[in-house]
């Protein structure tokens, strides 16, 4: 009987490891930016491209930076949750429109004239927000994705929680769900608001 105990123990250990492994999502790469200052940038605003937005404008507030694009399918699933959150007005949400034109695989951005990208991106983003509701305080346009690279964006949507000092406190990868909102994001916001 005793001789079976060791293999049984090893088997149980293996099952344990596999069980943990199944629950981990390999797509969720921990961001090294959590705990660091939100990278600086200055981008045109969707509502009025002559005006710029910079994360410095939000100092003193706890806020969310939500990276989205109209071509991003998961953003469609996430959007109602953001609209719901905006209605509660617990936290300002700033949108970062990520490669609105260049990121769209169905569109050949190389064929566009240089001056045409901004108007097209604005038109597409505005149409999307008009159809689905606009939860954003404002949306900044990251046409070429450079700011996205500075924030370590590798898949849209991604959402950053930034505190009053401008430090990134949390990064949510993939669509924000009601569950993620209630269990992770809202409690963290409450903590940071103190």
């Amino acid at each position: 009987m005793k001789r079976f105990l060791i293999p049984l123990g090893l088997f149980a250990l293996l099952v344990g490891f596999l069980a943990v492994g199944l629950r981990l999502d390999p797509r969720e790469v921990p961001s090294p930016l959590v705990g660091k200052m939100a990278p600086r940038f200055e981008l045109p605003q969707l509502a009025s491209p002559d005006k710029k937005f910079s994360p410095q404008d939000m100092l003193g507030k706890v806020w969310l930076l939500n990276v989205w694009a109209s071509w991003c399918v998961s953003c469609r699933a996430e959007h109602p949750v953001l609209v719901f959150l905006a209605k509660q007005s617990t936290v300002p949400i700033v949108g970062l429109s990520y490669k609105e034109v260049r990121g769209d695989g169905e569109l050949d951005a190389a064929q566009l004239l240089p001056g045409d990208e901004l108007p097209l991106a604005t038109k597409r983003a505005n149409a999307w927000l008009a159809a689905r509701g606009d939860p954003y305080l404002l949306t900044a346009l990251d046409l070429d994705g450079r700011v996205g690279i500075d924030y370590g964006v590798y898949g849209v949507p991604e959402t950053y929680l930034i505190d009053k000092q401008g430090v990134i406190r949390y990064k949510h990868i993939g669509p924000v769900t009601r569950q993620a909102l209630d269990e992770k994001i809202l409690p963290k916001i409450k903590e940071l608001e103190k």
Binding site: P26, V29, P30, L33, G145, I149, Y151, G152, G155
Partner: protein
């Protein structure tokens, strides 16, 4: 009209069409970097980096949008005169150690680096213990060279041996 074309014209026409196809494909190809040394360094660096979109591909081999952007970023960093280490830092500070195919040695990666050696050491200890135990068992079996007979059976066997001896000696007579 085509029926009036001679053989050579037809071949020329076919050739012309072939080139048209090539020209059409050429437009879609990615612009080659003008500088070959920059390109070589870019490929060498991006070979060491993981594409975050398709995680089992290197950055140099990936066709993902983000990989394109990051290669462009690396190219411009090289042109700015950044060293390989600085470019690596640039990537790691944004995407974490996960982008590196060779993870650095630090407290959180000790298990990753030394785990296999730990397993090997454990296996060697288990093997040595097993061999020693088996050796002892074999030695014990060798000591009982009588083949494991009971005292009674031993006496019986000796008696039988003696019997054959007497029979043999009688036969010789």
């Amino acid at each position: 009209m085509s029926s009036r074309l001679g053989g050579i014209s037809r071949i020329l026409l076919a050739l012309g069409m072939t080139f048209l196809v090539f020209a059409a494909q050429g437009r879609d190809a990615l612009p080659m970097a003008e500088d070959e040394t920059v390109e070589k360094r870019m490929v060498a660096i991006s070979d060491e980096l993981r594409c975050l979109v398709c995680q089992n591909e290197s950055l140099s081999g990936s066709h993902a949008e983000l990989a394109n952007d990051l290669r462009r970023e690396i190219r411009s960093l090289i042109k700015d005169g950044k060293s390989d280490a600085e470019i690596m830092d640039f990537m790691v500070s944004r995407y974490g150690d996960f982008v590196r195919y060779r993870p650095p040695l630090k407290a959180t990666t000790y298990l990753l680096w030394f785990g296999p050696f730990l397993l090997l050491a454990g296996a060697i200890v288990a093997l040595v213990v097993y061999l020693r135990r088996r050796g002892r068992r074999v030695a014990a079996a060798a000591e009982n060279a009588d083949g494991g007979l009971s005292a009674d059976e031993l006496r019986q066997a000796e008696a039988l041996l003696k019997q054959t001896e007497t029979i043999e000696s009688e036969n010789k007579r």
